[in-house]
Structures are given as C-alpha cells and as structure tokens.
C-alpha cells in the first residue's frame, strides 16, 4: 500500500442499507482527493447520464493525498458527483471544503467515502474507527432531520458524548481514545428540501457549496456523515517530511514579529498571516484547518456572530443592502446573515447575485404580487433588515413563493421566466459561464475564465489571481510603482510553470490572452489545480506561492516544495512537471465523463455580456466587474502593468484559441472530445472504449 494514503474506501449503498469496504490500493495511482473521486465515480456510477437527484448518482467525499499529514495547509476534502445546480446539463462536478474532516477520515482508516442509492427514510452515517453505522436520522431515531447544519453537528457531538475530555471509542483495553469531537459534514433544511443551491457545512463555516451537493444529500435522504478516528497516517519518510515542513515555514511562512506585506497579499498566500479583527472591525482570534500553519479564518469574533464565515458569506448582505440603506455594516445584521448561510446552507454567490438580479427586475416593474416574479416579500419586509434576509432565506429553503424560483438556481430561474437571454446579454444578470455567478473577470484575467469554460463551474483557483491581478491593481489605483517590475514577475512566475518555464505565459495583453502561451498557462493552471490542490489536498488560499516576501529574491516555494512533499509522504520521485501531467490525466477522465453526459464544444462559451461593449445608457455596474483590473502584459517589446477595464471577449479569437487548446491536449480539435490516442497515452484505454461505444470519442486530433 502506498504510504500517505489510508488503506480503505467506504462504499455505502443507501438503497440496500449496505456498507462495503474497498481497498484504496486499486485507486492509489490517482493520488487522492479529486483523482480518486473521479475514478470511483467512473467505476460505481453505472449511468453517467443520471441526474443529480437520481439514486444512481454517486457522491464521493475524498481526503487529499496529503491529508492527515503535517504537510502545511493540506486538509481539504474533495466532494464530487453529479451536481444538480450545474447548467445547462447536470454535470459531474466538484466542490471542496477544509476543516478537520479529511484528517479524521484518514485517522479512522479511510481515504474516501462514496455514497450511492437512496435511503427509505432519513439516515446519517456514523464512522468511529472501524465501526461504520447507517443510523436513523428521523424523528423516530436520532432526530437530526429538520435541524440546521450547526444544530445537527451539536446533536451528533451529544450522541457521541464528546465533552472535550478523554473517551474511548470501543470497549476493549486497546480501543482508540480521543479528546476530539467527531468531524461532521451535513446539510440543513435547504438540502433536505433538495434546493439546488444548497451545500454542505462542516464545523462553523467550512463548506462545499458549489454544485448543489446539499441537495444531493437530501435526495438520498442522507443528513450527515460523521467521522472520528484515533489512528494515524503512515508516511514514507517522516523525518524528511518534518524537515520540509520546518524548512518551508522558516523560509516562506510569515513571521508575526516581522510581517512583510508585499507581496504577501492579504491572508491568502503561503506567507499571509492571520487577521486580528473581523470584517466588522471587532477583535477576532485566528482559527484554521487541521495541519495549516496559517489559521486564516479570522472571523472568530468577539461578537460571536458569523464565526466560521470568512468570505462573501458574512459581507454580501452588508454590501448589497445593509450599508447602502443604513450606512452601517453590523454583526447583528450581516454577521447573523453569515450564520444563516452556513446553517441552511446556501451558495452565497447564487443568493447574492440573485438579489441583485431581482432588484433589477424590480426596477422594470416585474416583481410584486401578481407580477412575473410573484412575491410579497418587498411589501412585507424591509430590505436591509435581518428580518428581510431571514425570510428571504427561509422561502428559498422551503421552496416557497419567490423562494421556489430561486431555489432552482439563477440560470434555471431566468430560463423559467423567459428572461435568460435578455438578462445575461444586458448584464442585469451576471452569470459568466455555466450559469455560474460572475466572480473574477474572465475578460481581463483570462486564465480564470478560460479554465472555467473548460470545466463545469466557476473555477475558484487563485494561483495567478492575487499576485497578477489584485496587487498590480491596488498599486496602480494609488499610482505607486509595484515593488517588482512586470518583467521580473514574469520571470519568476514563468520559471515555475514546468514543463513550459516561459515568462510569456503570464502575458495578459489583448494578443496574449488568445496566444499559444495562454494555451500553456491554462494547461498548467488546470493540471496544478487538479493534482496538487484538489487531489493531494493543498489549500487554494496557500498555494501556489509564486512570489514570496520572506525570501531575499522574492521567489516563492511553488515548484520546490510540492515535489518534496510528494517524496516524503508517498516515497515517490515525481518531478513537478510530472505532477502537472498527473493533473491533466485526471482532467481528461473528467472530460470523458462530460462527453458521456452530452458535452459539446459550443457549450464551452461565456454568457453573452462578456462579448459586448456596454452601451452608454447601461448601468455603470456593467463595467465595474472588470474595472480597474490591471495585469502584466508584454506589449511593444516590453513588459508593463496595464489596465484592461472594459475589454470584451472576441468570439472568433476565443473559438480559435479553443481549437488550439484541444489540439495541444491531443483532443479532437473540432469537438474537443478526448481521443483514443490521448486517453491511451494517459493509461485510460477502458475510458476510450466506453467513449467509442457511446459514439463520442474524438477522432480528428492531429
């Protein structure tokens, strides 16, 4: 058995109330996390065309390959399966959360848990070392069904008798002992009601919200999975691993007594330090995931509100309505709204952009009793108050009134109202691709958008984002020169992009975003994220670390640390470039599944507003999503930082770029489908056979 991985995988068949243990060894070549999840889905989801709510859907929660070890910031759990929120097809998709779950799962002896089928009545899965039980979650059993995600966890802690002191997990003398609470991942009322925008919550606010996996739990009558383990994860070379951890911490990690801000960039990159105050300006203590040196979750605030929330979840309501209407941003209103997000749980971008869209429809006179969006919520509740948000969330979670519309996700809601085309063209509804709310701007930060359209959802991978976009934009906004030139940035980052090692890859100029260099950049970006982050479990808020303020030459740890982790945990001599290749192999398996689901090239596009120049009469919000974005660019023979606000996507150039990207991977240049040659090169012959049988195998690659 490969060191670093837990020995077994749990396969739960809820239809037949059956638990089977698989050997991880069969799946070890996929590394962990996403790779193993894809391989499990491939094998155990016998109908790839199933919908998210069909019992045949297989949902996997897989610990990263580095999970449970001292690799810094490696505690992510990858969630995969058919996502009912995906649009226009319910794609095989992914989400991911931090916290303690992946470590606990491995300490209990399991790399992954895969769940298929549908229970006859509400259940939860209770894993205590080698004891696995499917328990009754209904009112006649443990009474978990109907509880919110925080209350569910508390109830399970109580069932476990977890009181933060020593207790035994068994009756024998040598049974494992622990002081820990179980790690519980659960859905709330929205998931139970199969709301497509519902997610999963673990601890205070570690959540997997994208894709609709809360609703998948609900569709299977599965309330929660709880795990506690008292074992450990054997690694190939413990001494080398500890040395590596200490080395990277000393060389690249933050030093609280000598904090260098540039280009540490907020708490996000490897060197970022924890915050001492919450978004509401109140004192807060750092809190982090197991194995993380950073503790970047800085929202454990003195108010006790929004603990565990650390992103848009506890600030969106403040920015959307509380502050505009009251001039304030308070934990009493927006902080408590953050808690609601975790408790139902709901996907924050869907709710946030949903309210933005509804307000645009309100302006057109289309919202109100008896109108296109038939609701009385604006008459009965005052926008900007906690009571409005509470009722708004409740209606979504209960699929009631306006909530019945929004529970389906924005793309389906707009389609149902017959407004999708108009509103995504006018910018009243900012969905960038796949019905996903606009997050970072693909018109300016091209790799973010391109990787998204080549996937199933907003990519959410910050590798180039903070260093190439956010920092230059801030410096430019103040007219202050960046502490390193664009040329030096391109040089440092380019040298880390194995196997290409070319500074031109981060050329975001008007030509650069359609060039072959961008083909390679998006390949590297996809490979890195599929392998090192989503499969091995590294956190997106710590890696990649290209540029680091704590080294004399500003060169970060990416490309140096990852192979060292692989060597000490797995005992494998794997070069960084080979790791990127592994990531592209995993991507190819995903892509094969999408083609079995009906993927076509013409679906891999942006929504309409991305191609259009706003008319002067359009709301200014139209352009604000890309303004004042500044990025490195190579123009007229030199590197500069340039503002690309207002840039639009050229449809023809994008199509040409896609053709070159497909061909670069060895796929069919016309259809984008993997070919027998590309699949067999990746060792996926049986996948090629399956695609051929289904008539979707690509065949015209050069």
């Amino acid at each position: 058995m490969q060191p670093g991985l837990a020995e077994k995988i749990i396969l739960v068949d809820l239809t037949n109330n059956k638990v089977e243990l698989l050997k991880t060894e069969e799946f070890a070549k996929w590394g962990g996390g996403h790779g193993i999840g894809s391989a499990l889905f491939w094998k155990y989801c016998t109908n790839k065309k199933a919908k998210g709510f069909d019992p045949e859907n297989v949902i996997t929660l897989t610990a990263g390959g580095f999970g449970g070890t001292p690799v810094p910031s490696s505690g992510r759990t990858e969630v995969q399966g058919i996502g009912p929120l995906c649009w226009p097809v319910e794609w095989f998709t992914r989400s991911n959360f931090g916290g303690r779950f992946s470590n606990m799962l491995k300490f209990a002896g399991y790399q992954s848990i895969a769940v298929v089928g549908k229970a006859k009545k509400p259940v939860w899965i209770d894993i205590r070392d080698d004891k696995i039980e499917i328990r009754d979650a209904s009112s006649s059993g443990d009474k978990l069904w109907g509880l919110d995600a925080h209350a569910t966890q508390k109830a399970i802690y109580k069932i476990h008798g977890a009181k933060d002191d020593w207790r035994s997990l068994g009756d024998t003398r040598d049974a494992g002992r622990t002081t820990q609470r179980p790690a519980v991942v659960t859905t709330g009322i929205a998931g139970e009601n199969m709301v497509r925008i519902s997610g999963l919550t673990h601890d205070g606010g570690a959540g997997a919200a994208v894709g609709g996996f809360g609703a998948v739990f609900g569709s299977k009558n599965l309330k929660a999975i709880s795990v506690i383990g008292t074992g450990y994860v054997p690694v190939a070379d413990p001494n080398a691993l500890l040395d590596t951890r200490i080395d990277v911490k000393n060389k690249y990690g933050y030093d609280p007594s000598d904090y260098k801000t540039f280009p540490a960039v907020t708490p996000n990159v490897f060197a970022g330090n924890p915050a001492s105050e919450s978004s509401f300006g109140l004192p807060a203590r750092p809190e982090g995931c197991m194995s993380c040196h950073k503790s970047c979750h800085g929202a454990r605030s003195t108010s006790g509100k929004a603990n565990g929330s650390h992103c848009l979840d506890h600030t969106w309501y403040a920015y959307m309505v509380e502050r505009p209407l009251t001039g304030k941003m308070t934990p009493e209103v927006s902080g408590r709204v953050g808690d609601l997000f975790q408790q139902y749980p709901l996907e924050v971008y869907e709710v946030s952009q949903g309210l933005f869209w509804i307000m645009n429809l309100l302006k057109k006179g289309l919202v109100g009793p008896g109108k296109l969006v038939d609701t009385d919520i604006f008459e009965k509740y005052k926008l900007g108050t906690y009571e409005f948000a509470e009722e708004y969330f409740k209606r979504i979670a209960e699929k009631r009134e306006i909530g019945a519309l929004l529970a389906e996700g924005l793309a389906r809601a707009a389609t149902k109202l017959g407004r999708f085309e108009e509103d995504t063209a006018s910018g009243a509804l900012f969905l960038q691709e796949w019905g996903s709310p606009h997050h970072y701007d693909g018109r300016t930060e091209a790799n973010w958008g391109l990787a998204s359209i080549l996937g199933t959802r907003d990519v959410v991978a910050h590798d180039f984002n903070w260093i190439c976009y956010y920092m230059p934009t801030l410096y430019k906004a103040y007219g202050i020169p960046m502490p390193l030139t664009a040329e030096r940035m391109a040089d440092i980052i380019g040298n880390k992009l194995a196997p290409y090692n070319d500074p031109m890859l981060i050329d975001y100029s008007d030509e650069g975003i359609y060039a072959d260099s961008m083909v390679k950049l998006v390949t590297w970006y996809t490979g890195y994220n599929n392998y090192y982050k989503n499969s091995l479990g590294l956190c997106d808020w710590a890696y990649s670390d290209f540029i680091n303020p704590n080294t004399p030459d500003l060169v970060g740890l990416t490309g140096i640390a990852e192979p060292a982790y692989v060597k000490s945990v797995f005992g494998k001599d794997q070069s960084f470039a080979e790791g990127i290749e592994e990531g592209m192999k995993i991507y190819q398996l995903d892509r094969a599944i999408w083609y079995l689901q009906g993927r076509t090239r013409d679906q891999e596009v942006y929504h309409e507003y991305m191609y259009k120049t706003p008319a002067p009469a359009e709301p200014t919000g139209w352009i604000m999503l890309s303004e004042p974005n500044t990025l490195p660019a190579y123009e007229n023979g030199e590197w500069v930082y340039k503002t690309f606000a207002g840039r639009t996507i050229d449809r023809e150039k994008l199509e040409d770029w896609k053709t070159r990207w497909y061909e670069f991977q060895g796929y069919d240049g016309k259809t984008g489908a993997p070919t027998r040659k590309s699949l067999e090169k990746a060792g996926l012959k049986e996948v090629a056979d399956e695609l051929e049988k289904a008539g979707v195998l690509g065949g015209a690659a050069k």
């Binding site: 540490a264 848009l312 307000m359 302006k363 801030l474 906004a477 200014t620 919000g621």
Partner: protein
C-alpha cells in the same frame, strides 16, 4: 479644491434624499477573496461615506486585507447630475477628475467635497427649520 457656495434650500433637501435603490450608483467592493462585488448606493451620504479615503500605507499596514472601495468617479458625476441635479457639486467632481490623478489620490478629494456639500445641506435645512420655528414661536406669542 473647488469651493462650494451655499446651496438653495430646495437643492439641500434634494441632496439629502434617497433615490430608489434600484436606481442607485454602483461602486465596486474590490476584495481579494470575493472578486469585484457591486455595491449600489441610493443616497449621497452613505455613498460619500463609502468612497475610498485610506492611503496606500494604511492598506499596506493592514496586509491589504481591507477591500478597495472603488468607484468610477466620472460616472459618479453623471449619476449625481441625473438624480440630484446639483450642478455645482457635479462641476466640482468633474474638475477633480480632470486632474487625472490616480484613483486612490482623487477619491478622498471627491469624498471630502461631497461631505462638505452634505454638511452645507444640513446647515441650510437646520437654519431653515430654526427660522420656521422662530416664526411659529413668534406667532404663538
């Protein structure tokens, strides 16, 4: 910076009004985590309060954690013209924008100008209501 003359009572009252939020002015809350989130303001007071006024050094000292409160200041002048018709304030903002300074330098100046105008408005309305009260008190005496 442009000196603003005291506004009329009518303009002062107008400048302190809310427009419908759906007609509000979009700023961008530029967060390193959440991307550019749109934030739409419906009155001048809260909008001015939001406009960026921190120095670069203040952002840096905070580890760049605080979001940049960004606004297109030319568009802001257009919006005020359309919804409030305060020609003097609009001209003042346009004059500042025409200096072509970086956003982080000009934004505090625009914010300050708006806050001066809002203070004038409060004083004009306060004086007017004092005068009205005196008239009323005198009538009752």
């Amino acid at each position: 910076m442009t000196a603003l003359t005291v506004p009329s009572l009518e303009q002062a009252q107008k400048d302190l009004e809310f427009v419908d939020l759906v007609d509000g002015f979009y700023c961008s809350n530029m967060s390193s985590h959440a991307g550019n989130q749109l934030i739409r303001f419906a009155n001048l007071e809260y909008l001015a309060d939001y406009l960026e006024s921190r120095t670069f050094e203040e952002h840096k000292a905070n580890g760049f954690r605080g979001e940049l409160h960004y606004a297109n200041l030319s568009a802001l002048a257009d919006w005020i013209e359309m919804h409030y018709g305060d020609a003097e304030l609009v001209a003042g903002i346009r004059e500042l924008v025409a200096l072509d300074e970086p956003f982080g330098i000009v934004s505090p100046k625009v914010k300050s100008l708006m806050q001066v105008r809002l203070q004038q408005c409060r004083e004009v309305i306060g004086a007017s209501s004092d005068a009205a009260q005196k008239v009323e008190t005198g009538a009752n005496a």
